[in-house]
Amino acid sequence: MQSKETSTPQIKRSKLPKQIRQGFGIIVLLLILWRLYLVFGVEQEYTVDIWARLLISGLVIGGVYSLIAIGYTLVYGILRMINFAHGEVMMVGTFAGYLVLEATKSITVPTPDNSLLSFSNAYPIISVILAFAIGMLIAATTGYFLEKIAYRPLRKAPRLIPLISAIGASIFLQNFAQLLFSPQTRDYVNPDIISRGAGWTMMINDSKVILPYTGVLTFVLSILLMIGLYTMIKKTKLGKAMRSVAMDKQTAALMGIDVNVIISRTFIISGALAGAAGVMWGLHNGLVYYFVGFLPGIKAFTAAVMGGIGNIPGAMLGGMLLGLMESLGPTALGISYQLKDVISFVILIVILIFRPNGILGEALSEEKV
């Protein structure tokens, strides 16, 4: 083993991959700018009222995505695993809310004016609160048992194992719901005052733009829940414990934190958020069936990654961004709505090219030594 005694070694420099990578991102960005220019600068087909409507719908759907994405991010932060069954937890919440609203609808509270007045119309606020409470409760319970049965035994296993277990749980829950409730698509029965389509009407450009009550409810509630969660994580003892478990489970355990309890509670919290998102979904969109959680689940996972997985404000931002992109993107780029997911994913890729850890992801470089 002789050291090379020859003259100084020659170094060939090549930095191609990085340029290709960024070049790809720049090409896509230029394409996007070109399309934007066409739509906004040249064609100018759409007026302000159209954009207002798209914005409203994007914010509402973004709120729902954010709530679900937070669930992914919380669990990821603590267990470093993708909870693939999270969308199904949301589906369970949607169903629970549906059943509550059906029940309140079927109970009549006769009044002098209306002998057939249903409970949900007589006390709409109580009904909706009940739907949210039970939806969150059932979804949280599902999340709790999901962790206990499908993930806890795998705490020490390599990272891909819980992922497969989660996929199994997802398939199981989906099919269970299908068998339990039949594959039929059902409609949420909203109390009349917040029926779908009702809302504040604004006139923009002589055109009626409706700000739906359910949409406002969804958006405001999701923002409130997020603020609540954020304060909880930052301020309360549980939040601190969660953060410390997320940083280092062993050390946290040494500090006297019961890691299992904290993980369980994380699943309860993320389940409750998903449940709330599910009920909102139902109230706003009206649909509930066994497959209802699948797409939002995937989308929210995308949102969580976009914002930087493990980062709560990132999940909120990612969710909102994704909602807006889905709603505004195709129109703004003049592309068919069939391709909206393509747009979302391409933008995700571009974001990750320039920020490999998501928008708000830890700024640590990959090569942390």
Binding site: S3, K4, T8, P9, I11, R13, S14, K15, V369
Partner: protein, 274 residues
């Protein structure tokens, strides 16, 4: 004096607001053992990371036999002859000791995946050489018989040795050793020190050493630099550095020369009783 193997020229590395390495100059002659010491957080490992290409310094140049290497990719730097070990051992822990060394031999050979599938003459030749060379290296670092053990099952000292063996596999001209004796007992430290000397003397490898054990440092270093808060505060041979008041201050705070002497004694006796 020998040719300069590594020249660190006004290198600075900044993390956010923190300047981890601040305008450091080093000239490391070939075939010497050059130690970098300093208190925890002084920027020693960061400097290593700059040299081995993990970090790109914000300012300054790093010259390897006169050629700039800052900003080059790590694998390129490694394959031209700068190997390293890590403060926290980074072996491929689910692979065997032999495989670890074989991976270290990677830059030395050229056969690609097509060769592997068709078992071309080149592949067969190189495969044979790889195995022979790996076994030879294993023997060289004193790990004969450990070849088939998974790396994470090996005792700590052996893991350190194995890591050096892996670093040696691509016939480096420069070897960066990050605390090679950390956590070792007296005998192990002793033999490692001897081994490092052997690398310099027999193989002519230039060794840059980060070490906290002053006995080791003072015993084998040809030259020593002291970093504190990212800045070089002293340079010289063992005696010069030991007597430098700035160094003592950096380690023990103001007026700590006397303390230092006392501490040193205490430490020695501690180690012995252990």
């Amino acid at each position: 004096m020998n040719e300069i193997a590594i020249k660190v020229d006004q290198v600075s590395k900044i993390f956010g607001g923190l300047t981890a390495v601040n305008q450091v100059n080093l000239e490391i002659p070939q075939k010497t053992i050059y130690s970098i010491i300093g208190p925890n957080g002084a920027g020693k490992t960061t400097l290593f990371n700059c040299i081995s290409g993990f970090y790109v310094p914000e300012k300054g140049k790093i010259l390897y036999f006169g050629q700039e290497i800052q900003g080059l990719s790590t694998d390129l730097i490694a394959s031209v002859g700068i190997s390293r070990t890590y403060q926290n051992i980074r072996l491929f822990s689910n692979l065997t000791a032999l495989e670890n060394i074989m991976i270290g031999l990677h830059p030395k050979f050229r056969s690609n995946w097509v060769d592997a599938i068709v078992h071309s003459p080149r592949y067969l030749r190189e495969d044979k050489e790889t195995k022979q060379e790996a076994i030879r290296l294993l023997n060289f670092v004193g790990l004969a018989g450990y070849g088939d053990y998974l790396a994470f099952n090996l005792p700590y000292g052996v893991q350190r040795r194995l890591e050096i063996g892996r670093a040696l596999a691509n016939q480096p001209r420069i070897l960066l050793l990050d605390e090679p004796t950390a956590g070792m007992n007296m005998q192990e430290t002793q033999s490692t020190t001897e081994f490092i000397k052997k690398l310099r003397d027999d193989l002519g490898i230039t060794i840059i050493l980060i070490e906290h054990d002053m006995q080791v440092v003072m015993g084998i270093s040809d030259r020593i630099s002291v970093l504190d808060y990212g800045t070089k505060i002293a340079e010289g041979n063992a005696a010069e550095v030991q007597s430098n008041p700035k160094v003592i201050e950096a380690y023990l705070g103001p007026g700590g020369a006397a303390l230092a002497e006392k501490f040193q004694k205490q430490r020695r006796s501690n180690v012995k009783s252990h």
